[in-house]
């Protein structure tokens, strides 16, 4: 059994912005035992999952996969990707399998085993559980899943823990393409597969998953190298100007999670309360003391679901008249009323964001007084059909021009238009599921496959 293993993480979200190559190749020179990263996130909103599309161009994703595949095969070490294509849906997994196959051909790579797993969950599966009175428990203050919310959902993915990754490693996969996955499981699985403790393995994943976001000075898309031993995890920045420090690594524990002490995954919780951080050398931080507590009873797997609200158009208007700015709510009220006269108050959504007032923060904005001499207004109309979405957005935008304010001096038009049209946007979606489902065998949600790719010897 090896005494230590090295993990090279080139990117915190593969393909979202291309990997920086200099630090990546410095990482490759360290002869890692694995090259791995995640490729997805729910940060990007519910649209890509609902519409089953990527949030980034295929070319960027191919670029990053190519960097990783070529070096992993040259070194003869596994390459592991989680949450393929931003969302980890089945079509994104298939797309990555296709890209890997094409790259193998392009580089004339000798034969290797390509493992992959799916993580989409169909509604009937959850409905059947609910019919058996099983709870689909809500997270973050959400109520348990109802039939109604489920019916509004177009696409669901389950978030994998280490289980399908370990299964594919057992099956001898050289390259793994994962469906939706917990970021930290991508790294924890190979470490645990090689007999390292769950405590340190999950922590290793936690600290590596965002690549150089755990280093300073700030700079994304640079590679970091993680090392696991029997006693500790070490993480080293690969970019010549970056360092992993006690401050940067402990600070990263807080990033994009509500509590810096706990990280929940399918199968348990990583407890970082007793983590001890130490500067190991100039570029490396050493961490000891994380604990993993396995869940008692059934494994709870997180579900993400997105449902379409409707087709969407966007309108843009500008306001410069000070009296109109002062009375902007009245102006918007007029435009809304014109939409209501035709369509009533239900069956569509009409949103106004007023930049210069509270466009960024909405109700959270503590500055109540408008201090800007001009306003930018973005109108969003969402409706069952494109035609209706276009029309309500058009009425809601153009009627800003016709708003009737009693004392306005300018009587030739109340709003400036950079173009007198409304623009088609992607459909509106909403996160309908942020829940967990209890399962006896976590693999039941994540079917695994193994194929051979590359040229015959």
């Amino acid at each position: 059994m090896k005494e230590e293993l090295k993990f090279l993480c080139p990117n915190g979200h593969l393909g979202f912005a291309p990997t920086k190559e200099e630090s990546y190749y410095l990482g490759v020179q360290e002869k890692p035992d694995f090259i791995l990263c995640d490729s997805g996130s729910d940060d990007i909103g519910p649209g890509p999952l609902g519409a089953d599309v990527c949030a980034s161009p295929r070319e960027w994703q191919t670029h990053d996969l190519e960097l990783m595949l070529v070096e992993a095969r040259r070194l003869g070490v596994p390459m592991i990707i989680g949450s393929a294509g931003d969302t980890g849906t089945n079509s994104r997994v298939d797309m990555y399998v296709e890209i890997i196959t094409e790259l193998a051909r392009k580089h004339n790579l000798p034969k290797f085993k390509l493992g992959y797993f799916y993580s989409e969950v169909n509604r009937a599966y959850l409905r059947a559980k609910m019919d058996q009175d099983e709870r689909i428990e809500g997270l973050d203050g959400r109520p348990d899943l109802t039939y109604e919310e489920l019916a509004k959902t177009d696409r669901i993915v389950a978030v994998a823990g280490v289980h399908p990754f370990m299964k594919l490693l057992e099956m001898g996969a050289d390259v793994i393409i994962g469906g939706r996955s917990s970021d930290c499981a991508i790294f924890a699985a190979p470490a645990m597969f090689h007999g390292f403790s769950a405590d340190l393995s999950y922590y290793l994943g936690k600290v590596l998953e965002c690549a150089s976001f755990n280093a300073e000075p700030y700079g994304g898309k640079e590679s970091v190298l993680g090392t696991i031993t029997r006693e500790e995890v070490r993480v080293k920045a690969m970019h010549p100007a970056q360092r992993c420090t006690v401050a940067s690594v402990s600070g990263h524990a807080m990033y994009e999670r509500s509590n810096p002490f706990f990280e929940y995954v399918a199968g348990g919780v990583l407890d970082m309360t007793h983590c001890h951080y130490e500067q190991y050398d100039e570029k490396t931080c050493k961490i000891t003391g994380p604990e993993f507590h396995p869940i008692e009873g059934k494994t709870k797997v997180k579900l993400e679901g997105s449902g379409k609200i409707g087709e969407r158009y966007i309108g843009i208007a500008g306001i410069r008249d000070p009296y109109t700015i002062k009375n902007i709510e009245q102006v918007i009220g007029w435009a809304r009323k014109q939409v209501e006269e035709k369509y009533g108050t239900n069956g569509y959504e009409l949103h106004y964001r007023i930049f210069g007032k509270n466009g960024v923060m909405g109700d959270l904005e503590p500055v109540k007084e408008i201090k800007s001499h001009e306003l930018g207004i973005i109108v969003q109309g969402v409706a069952p059909t494109k035609e209706m979405a276009e029309e309500i957005t058009m009425i809601g935008t153009r009627q800003l021009f016709y708003a009737r304010l009693p004392e306005v001096k300018g009587t030739a038009g109340g709003a400036a238009f950079m173009l007198d049209e409304v623009l088609p946007a992607s459909p509106g979606y909403m996160w309908t599921l942020n829940h967990v489902v209890a399962v006896d065998d976590p693999l039941e949600l994540f079917p695994v496959r193994l194929i051979e790719v590359g040229k015959e010897e």
């Binding site: 973050d140 401050a247 402990s250 807080m254 994009e256 969003q380």
Partner: protein
């Protein structure tokens, strides 16, 4: 009493989505002295956050002082999930600005 603005004491003040239903805020200090000063002042607490962002107490999911990173961290629930039509900060990354001007008493 003399005061200093939080922006002059902290190294990092940021906000970010934490899953689809929450936005989390980090206030991180470079020096232990500044962290201790702000922590001991007790100025940054759930009540202040509610006042600044016009929230009910139950809309705050978490409030923690995180000693290993010299950081104060709190998390709020979103009123609508991230990226819903009408939302305008899917990453939640521009919600921290009102924290910059918090006045901290210094001696």
């Amino acid at each position: 009493m003399k005061t200093r603005k939080l922006v002059d004491l902290a190294k990092t003040i940021r906000s970010k989505n934490a899953g689809p239903d929450k936005i989390t805020f980090d206030i991180i200090f470079r020096e232990k002295e500044n962290y201790d000063l702000v922590k001991k002042s007790g100025v940054i607490n759930r009540e202040l956050i509610c006042n600044i962002y016009n929230l009910q107490e139950r809309e705050i999911a978490d409030f923690v002082e995180f000693d290993p990173a010299y950081a104060i961290k709190f998390t709020m629930y979103r009123r609508r999930p991230s990226g819903s039509p009408g939302e305008s900060d899917v990453f939640g990354c521009q919600q921290y600005a009102p924290l910059l001007d918090i006045e901290i008493p210094v001696g």
